[in-house]
Point group: C2
Chain length 233, copies 2
DNA sequence: GCCTCTTGAATAAGTCGTATGTAATGGGCT
DNA sequence: AGCCCATTACATACGACTTATTCAAGAGGC
């Protein structure tokens, strides 16, 4: 048997999760553990563990005598990073990017305001460094470098807010930014206005200007939403 | 064998999840599947399924030859409703209520603004009905009835926003409201000012007044945060 | 003599096959 | 029509085997 590099469980989970998140299995569709075991050439034990995980994500529901039924989208745990990744890999990626960006536009301004109050000296320094990195990579097709600094920047702000619920959205934001960069405008340099806003946001946080930080972050969010509207209406 | 009412799996998962979320097992603590099987008097199969689910929630990490290690809090999937429930049942419930309330204060105003634009006639009607229900139950120790209407109210707003990420926070908000009511002020009637704000919010949504809805929701959130500060400093 | 690298044994999770229990469904019997 | 029973597919359990990882002992080099 060809041993998977990271375990049979992970492999089957990813394959099934992708299928369901992509909508290949419409809600109500019934899967059979035996079938799945055959299809992936693994034992039922492995399949059962996978089903249990998918069940904990509310992607499926397992009932005796009836099988494993796919649940409607509204019931999924859409905040699970794994689920987000599966959905972003699927066909309704634009819709997904939009709702995540709206979420960002709600959360990040408040987080930035809190960060201005609570950020440590180290966090301020790291923030400034990221902003400078964004400036340095904002021209000349250095999109990957720019993306790395952008992700780090927003992660620091969320962490510095001191609220763990905000901090845990760092992964979500990272997925959104990566998705945006890799999906649409690989050929264009980032918007210079956005870069400036990040630099000014770093300053505001460093100076403890909470309202300024919140306002600047709102502007960044508006820009991100506008970008989506322009590129994927 | 004592047959569990809802399955062995659920029972063991709940017990272990509670223990970990409550902090009884400090991060880095190693659990052995054999031990757990013995302790809960179930087979290793059931334990493995439970471990897999806890692993998908990033509460633990399972490595060969070393065992199941509890991960640090910062890595948990704190948006998983199950995890939230476990943590709210534990000892750091106040801290948890606070971070969730801050999250609400960021998300709900934006959601209310969107709801004012997108709410259907049915949703507006249901919202008004809930607001009236809150008024009717705001005096005379009808806290359970008030809570039910309060939860329904906020759920409708989140759903009406049309954003699925917001909509899925309905359960979180429900947990917070329930936790607040059951934890602290069972003896006091709700703040009359809050009741009024909900009535006015229902009006604003019905009239499509987005900025008004956002502002009113912010006031509600401020009140909720203030309440936490007063009662659990 | 001390440090490093290799090697091998011990260990605990990973995987599998099978057996049995259990609940829900659907058809057949009265 | 209504009740009963056979079927079905998941739920649970057990035991054997596999594999990766760790730890330590020993060989070799400095």
């Amino acid at each position: 048997m060809t041993t998977q590099s990271q375990g049979l469980h992970t492999h089957v989970l990813d394959a099934l999760g992708l299928e369901i998140a992509a909508g290949d299995c419409p809600p109500g569709r019934v899967l059979r553990t035996d079938e799945l075991a055959q299809r992936f050439d693994v034992s039922r034990t492995v399949v059962r563990e996978v089903i249990r995980v998918l069940e904990s994500m509310h992607l499926v529901e397992s009932r005796r005598r009836v099988g494993v039924t796919v649940r409607p989208t509204e019931e999924w745990n859409v905040y699970d990073p794994q689920v987000i990744r599966w959905r972003l890999a699927g066909s309704d990626r634009p819709r997904q990017l939009r709702s995540l960006t709206v979420l960002r536009s709600a959360v990040e301004p408040v987080a930035a305001g809190l960060a201005a109050r609570h950020a440590t000296a180290e966090q301020c320094a790291a923030l400034t460094e990221c902003a400078l990195g964004m400036v340095a990579t904002s021209r000349g097709q250095q999109l990957e470098g720019y993306l790395r600094h952008d992700i780090a920047f927003h992660r620091i702000v969320l962490n510095a807010s001191g609220n763990e619920m905000f901090a845990r959205l760092g992964d979500v934001v990272a997925e959104v930014l990566a998705g945006r960069t890799h999906h649409q405008v690989m050929f264009e340099d980032p918007d210079p206005a956005a870069v400036t806003l990040h630099v000014r946001l770093a300053e505001a946080v460093r100076e403890g200007d909470a309202v300024g930080a919140e306002r600047l972050t709102k502007e960044i969010a508006v820009g991100a939403l506008h970008e989506l509207d322009v590129l994927a209406p």
